[in-house]
Amino acid sequence: MIEATALTKRFDDIIALDHVDASIKEGQVFGLIGTNGAGKSTFLRCLAGIYKPDEGEIHIDGSPVYEHTAVKSRFFFISDEQYFLPGATPLDMASSYRLYYRYFDRERFKKLLSEFGLDGRRKISTFSKGMKKQLSVILALSAYTDYIFCDETFDGLDPVMRQAVKSLFAHDMDERGLTPVIASHNLRELEDMCDHVGLLHKGGILLSKDIVDLKLGIHKIQCVFADETEPEQVEGLDIIKSERRGRLRTFIVRGEEDAIRRIMERENTVFYELIPLSLEEIFITETEVAGYDVKKIILGE
């Protein structure tokens, strides 16, 4: 289990992480989403023991990460800026990682290489961006660590490869309790992959929930009131955001579906319907609430 407590990291005057509390359970896929500059990469680098937190702590199974070799051998970090040794081939990289990861499985590495169609003796410098990402994932999976931290790893992978990686992650999770922590902008990809998401915004964590709870706890309602009732006037609704187009009202509310339906049944509506929100919509809504209005950025409103 990974636990971050009041994790703070500053770069000169910029506060990249501001007292972030997070908890990542073993055996689930943790998705780290957030706006640009929210601190996702910084969080992962703190998690990987690359950055030393200025304040707060980050523990993996109760042990601090920074300069703690035993803890660091339990995870594999795939950086958004991948690095491979100069002039190295995939097999060279495997040999290198074998020095540092005791359980690195060379056989599995070769097998995965072959299944992904990568040449183990070809220089990595001649690989495409996507191939390098595939190689990183293969190396990570072959290292047999308990955790894999992926920073934008799925960006640049084609859909087939993405699916393959997902199934590999699923397999390892099932087989040996692997815990992937994935930071990404690609919310659609995370949506069908993550069990839990943490939403970072401006260095702070806005929410951290199981994706099912997250989806169940937020709903979009489209309705037409028979009278001049405003959504804000409806008692018992925790409205986050509302829009009006003619008589059609669209508003996003927090709460359980049954409770919301009971409330809406009481109201004098011509019709209403509850539409489930995608992770992307939840992300936009939550960040808007926190002051990160996409429309304002796009339309300059």
Binding site: F11, D12, R45, A48, G49, I50, Y51, K52, D61, E67, T69, A70, V71, K72, S73, R74, F77, S79, E81, Q82, Y83, L85, P86, G87, A88, S96, L99, Y100, Y101, R102, Y103, R108, L112, E115, F116, Y144, T145, D146, V160, M161, Q163, A164, S167, L168, H171, E175, R176
Partner: protein, 741 residues
């Protein structure tokens, strides 16, 4: 969709201990480093191939070719007699040259090691620690399950191994080539010790460049940091030397403590080591070993500092100018003040001191602004930290004012008599006759036993200087010397009070002649104080009569006074007549044997070198008597006798290019070398030790093989024959050698 079939049993995958406690061995990491830096290693080996075996082969084949030519000639024309001896000596000389060249290259002193070592240090530091400069590599290396210290050790050692492999390759290559050429007398232990010295120099440079990389996060900043680290000592030394010279009484010897600033400069260790290793004593001598010990300690310190910095350096430093934010302000202030003071040198013109201040202020602002821009990588930050800028400017100006206005009384300093252990002084208008002393540091026996030393001409003159020899401790002479120096201090502080003229020469005083007087005060607290005063001829005439009777002063001035005749004789005596015709007349009359002296068949001395000098062709008992008389006259000599016979000559060139000279404030046409002369007949004396030294030195040059004249110029003493020198004059008169005769 891609499907993955896992063949292994689930249980095999489960790791009971989670992989904790496992770290890659340093050895395997080093092997990996070498594998991925094979290019650097191959480049090093290629350079060493040219620098060592190939260069050795070239040097030796060149000498061997010349030696073969001599051998072929000697075989062809079958020479006997002295020429055959010469050929044998010549071949022996070539063999010695081959040994010497092989030893030079084997040790690394020959060739380009002094260039290769720093360049190799830069390349190795770059190869092994470049990951500090890039985010992707920092992510890669710092996320590894490996402690930073272990990573540092592995990478540091890898760089050292690359250098060691290159050095070993070069050494063995040179050794094999030397053996193939049949060179004998190779000094393997010395060569290995010198190579060790180079390795220590490499470690100092290597660690320094790594520290520069650790302190910064960009390659250009690392280069700048390396320049600063290497240059800071030199810059501080230059600043102190330039500004200390603003003190009127600053003496050259006072810079000795500031020379220690050179030790801040890694480059200095290499220069110092090359000097020590190349000296007569060689690298196994105590001085060299001590220096190597110091270099080893510094290497250890630098390695420890680099390891610590590597451990605490934030990974996010990649891409920044400075790794540690806390260093930003002190570094900015240090660089701005030092840079400002260096730029202030531009203001040292005749135009006045205001320019010094102007350039100091301008320089400080410029350097501070450059620091701001480069530290923040933002030109808009040009004028940030205005108060800090003002503080830097103020610090620089205060520093300059201390030297220009002398608020602490450096120039007016003359110690109290009760604080002085001893005092020594010399002045520019004095006539020097002080060579007849045994060479304490130079051992003739060593030179005789070491033919290689004679061949290479490696010797040094260890005669103590006048200021080291002189120690006036007795009263009232100490007080008299201090009184004389107070005159100089008064003049110096008076000039300083004028401020703007403080660095002009006081020679401009037209009413009287000014002499430069060097003084060294050895204080009772063990400290040494050096001053260089400007004292007028009048002041000198007033005080010197009180000092001149001091036997401590005279013994220092004329060392023969305390040397026995056994130490000085048999020497060579010559006489120089002020009246050239008088000498020629005495020679005609047979009183003098001529200008050239036959020195018991060994070789000849040409007194002609010294002008109108004649050899005194008398027996050994006369030499003893003459020496005793000279000593007696020197002991009784008074300042007025001495002073009135002294005159100086200043060379001048007229507008039309013809030469002339000033003497006694009068202008003469003609040519005379500048210097201080005695306006009387002179006694030339080459003491026994100098004769022998000259003989040995003569063996070093080929001209002596053909028979040439010794040059005793460096070894002779010249003594006046004043009117007051009654004992000498009486003796010379008895032998008909006085010019009046």
């Amino acid at each position: 969709m891609l499907t993955v079939k896992e063949e292994k049993n689930k249980d095999e995958r489960i790791r009971p201990d989670g992989g904790g406690g496992f770290q890659a061995s340093v050895l395997s990491m080093i092997r990996e480093n070498l594998h991925y830096n094979l290019g650097t290693l191959l480049l090093g080996l290629l350079v060493m191939l040219f620098n060592c075996p190939i260069l050795t082969a070239l040097s030796l084949s060149d000498i061997k070719h010349r030696m073969d030519q001599v051998m072929v000639s000697s075989t062809a024309i079958s020479i006997d007699g002295p020429t055959s001896v010469f050929i044998a000596e010549k071949i022996s000389s070539y063999q010695t040259q081959m040994t010497s060249a092989a030893n030079e290259l084997l040790s690394g002193r020959g060739g380009l090691m002094s260039v290769i070592v720093p360049v190799a240090a830069i390349l190795c530091a770059r190869a092994m620690f470049i990951y500090l400069m890039q985010r992707s590599t920092a992510d890669f290396y710092f996320s590894e399950p490996l402690s930073r210290t272990r990573r540092f050790c592995a990478n540091y050692i890898s760089g050292v191994i690359i250098m060691l492999l290159c050095m070993a390759f070069g050494f063995l290559g040179s050794l094999i080539v030397s053996i193939c050429f049949g060179v004998t007398g190779l000094l393997i232990p010395e060569a290995l010790m010198t190579q060790l010295g180079f390795l220590l120099i490499f470690l100092i440079f290597y660690s320094t460049f790594i520290i520069a990389m650790l302190l910064t996060g960009k390659p250009f900043a690392a280069v700048a940091a390396a320049i600063v680290i290497n240059g800071i000592g030199m810059a501080l030394y230059a600043i102190f030397m330039v500004y200390l010279n603003l003190f009127e009484t600053f003496a050259y010897e006072s810079q000795a403590p500031f020379e220690k600033l050179w030790y801040l400069c890694p480059l200095y260790y290499m220069v110092d080591f090359l000097n020590e290793a190349g000296s007569r004593a060689g690298v196994l001598e105590a001085g060299s070993l001590r220096l190597m010990g110091i270099m080893a300690l510094i290497s250890v310190f630098l390695i420890a500092a680099a390891a610590l910095l590597h451990r605490i350096r934030p990974a996010e430093s990649c891409g920044r100018t400075l790794s540690f934010k806390a260093t930003s302000r002190p570094l900015r202030i240090l660089l701005a003040v030092i840079g400002g003071l260096l730029i202030s040198f531009l203001g040292f013109t005749e135009a006045g001191i205001l320019w010094i201040f102007f350039f100091a202020v301008l320089g400080t602002i410029i350097v501070h602004a450059i620091c701001e821009i480069s530290f923040n990588m933002d030109i808009r930050r040009l004028f940030d930290h205005k108060i800090e800028k003002l503080i830097c400017i103020a610090a620089g100006l205060v520093f300059i004012c201390i030297f220009i206005f002398d608020p602490f009384g450096y120039d007016s300093y003359v110690p109290k008599a009760e604080d002085v252990e001893s005092v020594a002084f010399s002045y520019s208008g004095d006539f020097e006759a002080r060579y007849a002393i045994p060479d304490s540091e130079y051992d003739l026996r060593v030179m005789k036993e070491d033919p290689n030393m004679i061949y290479t001409g490696e010797y040094y003159d260890g005669k103590p200087e006048l200021m080291d020899r002189m120690a006036i401790t007795e009263e009232p002479y100490v007080s008299s010397v201090l009184d004389l120096m107070r005159e100089g201090a008064r003049r110096a502080s008076g000039i300083n009070d004028m401020g703007s003229d403080s660095y002009d020469s006081p020679d401009n005083e037209e009413d009287h002649e000014i002499f430069y007087v060097n003084a060294v005060y050895r204080l009772k607290n063990g400290r040494l104080k050096y001053r260089n005063y400007h004292i007028s001829s009048e002041e000198l005439s007033e005080h010197m009569p009180n000092i001149f009777p001091s036997m401590e002063y005279k013994t220092a001035m004329y060392p023969i006074l305390e040397l026995s005749e056994d130490e000085l004789l048999p020497g060579l005596f010559g006489i120089e007549y002020k009246d050239r015709e008088a000498g020629e007349e005495l020679q005609r009359r047979g009183k003098l044997s001529g200008k050239i002296l036959a020195l018991e068949g060994r070789s000849n001395i040409d007194w002609e070198e010294f002008g109108n000098v004649y050899d005194i062709n008398e027996d050994a008992s006369f030499e003893k008597e003459l020496l005793a008389a000279l000593k007696k006259d020197l002991e009784e000599m008074q300042y007025k006798d001495y002073h009135e016979w002294l005159y100086s000559v200043d060379e001048v060139y007229e507008d039309d290019g013809t030469k002339g000279y000033f003497s006694d404030s009068k202008y003469y046409k003609g040519e005379q070398e500048a210097g201080v002369y005695l306006n009387c007949d002179l006694l030339h004396f080459v003491p026994a030790s100098s004769v022998e030294l000259s003989e040995l030195r003569g063996l070093m040059t080929e001209t002596d093989i053909y028979g040439g004249y010794r040059e005793y110029y460096e070894y002779e003493d010249i003594y006046p024959i004043f009117e007051s020198f009654t004992h000498v004059r009486e003796l010379l008169s008895e032998h008909g050698l006085l010019s009046e005769d």
